[in-house]
């Protein structure tokens, strides 16, 4: 095996890890919302985009420190999450059609608001870190390492939150059996709000990071949206651990498929791989089977 091939493989493994961490970060929030409130939040991608834009505007137009900007955008999106839960999701709980309509409304407004308000220039959040370092034979930029580290760090935090804190355990209870949780006297609205906040905050983090790694534009959320749905279904409805494996699988596919096939075929192959997996395991890799 030639030097080039080895480098290619190692580099791709690193890519897979980095991508996975980003996907899991986004998928987690989305899955929370679905498991806890039964909501398919089609606006998740747009929330990610808005998070990126808040960070970008603060950091490059206003000119404050990017880290501070990221913090502000996280807080802002967290608050936005509370509003979202109270005024958008709660009134329509249990009716997926209405939720879809309201999500489309939000998407349309936010996307077009951004694309109308922003003049056409290349828009990019200033880098959080710079420089390159070598790992063995391949070299990696600190920027991407940072994305990976923040991703993993937040995942660990979220896991601790779910498994150790009272709210976290309540969250899992609600995710598994809502009626039961209500009977136990858990305040489902509070838990839902919490889930929304977490989802939006995580999306904001991912957005800010990707905004400095790629560029920001009003349509950056569309592709992410599909990835997130893949992760939800692949991981399995109602399971939180499933997200990690699903995210890993999607990341690996995204990192390795482009090397063998061309761009759009990657997407097609991935989709059909998932469809086939679901044909054999309809409840997802970690979901509980529900038979009629």
């Amino acid at each position: 095996m030639s030097q080039a091939t080895i480098i290619l493989l190692v580099a791709s493994c690193l890519n897979a890890l980095i991508l996975s961490s980003m996907y899991i970060l986004l998928g987690l929030g989305f899955t929370f919302l679905f498991n806890i409130m039964g909501i398919l939040n089609f606006a998740h991608g747009v929330i990610y985009m808005i998070g990126a834009y808040i960070c970008f505007i603060l950091a490059s137009t206003v000119g404050i420190n990017p880290w501070l900007a990221m913090l502000v955008s996280i807080i802002a999106m967290g608050l936005f999450g509370i509003l979202l839960e109270r005024f958008v999701f709660r009134p329509f709980l249990g009716n997926i059609n209405l939720i879809i309509v309201v999500c489309i409304g939000i998407i349309t407004v936010l996307k077009n608001a951004v694309s109308v308000s922003q003049t056409y220039t290349v828009q990019m959040t200033p880098p959080f870190v710079q420089g390159v370092f070598k790992v063995g034979i391949v070299s990696l930029s600190w920027e991407r390492l940072l994305i990976f580290l923040i991703g993993v760090g937040l995942l660990i935090l979220v896991l601790l939150f779910i498994n150790k804190t009272k709210q976290g355990l309540q969250m899992r209870a609600v995710a598994q059996d809502k009626e039961g949780a209500i009977l136990q006297g858990i305040n489902v609205n509070y838990i839902s709000a919490l889930a929304c906040v977490i989802a939006c905050a995580l999306a904001a983090v991912a957005g800010s990071l990707m905004g400095s790694y790629l560029t920001v534009n009003p349509y950056m959320g569309d592709d992410i949206m599909i990835k997130v749905l893949e992760i939800l279904v692949l991981g399995g409805i109602g399971s939180i651990n499933g997200v990690f494996f699903a995210g890993l699988i999607v990341g690996v596919m995204d990192a390795f498929l482009p090397i063998v096939v061309s761009g759009t075929q990657t997407q097609a192959i991935m989709m059909f791989a998932i469809v086939i997996i679901l044909l054999f395991k309809p409840q997802g890799l970690f979901g509980k089977e529900v038979r009629t």
Binding site: F92, I104, T108, N112, L229, V233, S262, M271, V290, T292
Partner: protein, 329 residues
């Protein structure tokens, strides 16, 4: 008229006559639209509306069985591409390709829905969503045949005339036939069984309704008409591209159904008409048009959540209440 008519008393039979008369008037009106508007562009909009009414109505038919077909836009696309490719690259008559498109969509829909019909309806929605996106990605990645993201242009049309009037009447006829079939299905026992399954598949099973059979049937019929609409779109619009059959397209179909009103057969028709024709008033606003559309969505959503069809009912009950109030005082 199946279950409903058998339990009809004379009063509701009169209502039935009224319905027929109203529909008659409407059809007559639609028949003279080309005389009312002399701009080909307006006719173009009306023709698209006819096509999307079929799509939305067929989507609602699937939804009555409790399944949400998140690939309906993609099935539209499947129909469009099948008919487009067949008629452009293989020179098959457009009339034939319409039928083929519908049948292909039907077949694929059945194939996809079958493994999931025995599971919770939600799983079908998910798989269909993925299948939909995957199908478009495939279309995009076979550039030679489908023109990739660009799409196909120069598809042979049904009528080789510059005028759009023949298209209008032809598609009006197709729409009326499709709607008639869907309506008959809905009011017959088939439609009622679908509604029964939607309400409780356990009870439905316990009285001998085959849940799997009926769910697949619903999807098959829905996809058939989706494919038909897609074929019509391709052969009328002569250009098709994946981006107009993507997830957003499906979600917009759901919006037509929901804004119009899920509970009533007229729902998708009203919804499509409103959301298709209304934007023509403010299309002058260019890049600001989406905001108006969103505003309309929110307005309807937060005022009458059962859709526009519920408005008359609400009005009637409101006046009844006021009458009561008066008679008391």
């Amino acid at each position: 008229m199946g279950l409903m008519i058998t339990v009809r008393d004379t009063a509701s039979r009169r209502k039935n006559y009224i319905q027929i008369i109203i529909c008659g008037i409407l059809i007559c009106f639609l028949a003279i639209v080309p005389l009312l508007t002399n701009s080909p562009y307006n006719l173009h909009i009306f023709i698209l509306t006819l096509i999307y009414i079929i799509a939305a109505a067929s989507m609602r038919f699937i939804m009555t069985s409790g399944q949400i077909p998140l690939a309906h836009g993609a099935f539209l696309g499947l129909g469009a591409y099948v008919s487009g490719i067949l008629s452009k690259h293989f020179g098959i008559s457009s009339w034939l390709t319409l039928l083929v498109a519908a049948l292909v969509a039907m077949g694929v829909g059945t194939f996809i829905s079958f493994p999931f019909a025995r599971l919770k309806a939600f799983y079908y929605s998910m798989i269909s969503l993925f299948f939909g996106v995957g199908m478009l990605q495939t279309i995009e990645s076979f550039g030679k045949l489908t023109g990739g993201i660009t799409g196909i242009t120069g598809i042979p049309t049904l009528f080789h005339t510059a005028s759009k009037v023949p298209f209008y009447y032809c598609f009006l006829a197709l729409m009326l036939i499709s709607l008639f079939i869907l309506y008959r299905l809905e009011v017959s026992r088939i439609g009622w069984n679908l509604k029964a399954i939607e309400q409780s598949y356990l009870v439905a099973g316990s009285v001998g309704i085959s849940v799997v059979q009926y769910r697949v049937l619903a999807v098959a019929i829905g996809c058939f008409f989706a494919g038909l609409a897609g074929g019509m779109y391709a052969t009328y619009n002569v250009t098709i591209s994946p981006s107009s059959f993507d997830m957003a397209a499906t979600l917009w179909l759901i919006i037509y159904v929901t804004i119009g009103g899920m509970g009533n057969f007229a729902g998708p028709i009203i919804g499509t008409l409103v959301l298709f024709l209304l934007p023509q008033y403010y299309s002058g606003l260019k890049q600001y048009t989406p905001f108006i559309s969103a505003a309309i969505l929110f307005a309807v959503l937060y005022t009458f959540r059962d859709g526009l069809v519920s408005v008359p009912g609400l009005v009637v009950s409101f006046y009844k209440k006021r009458k009561k109030g008066r008679s008391k005082s």
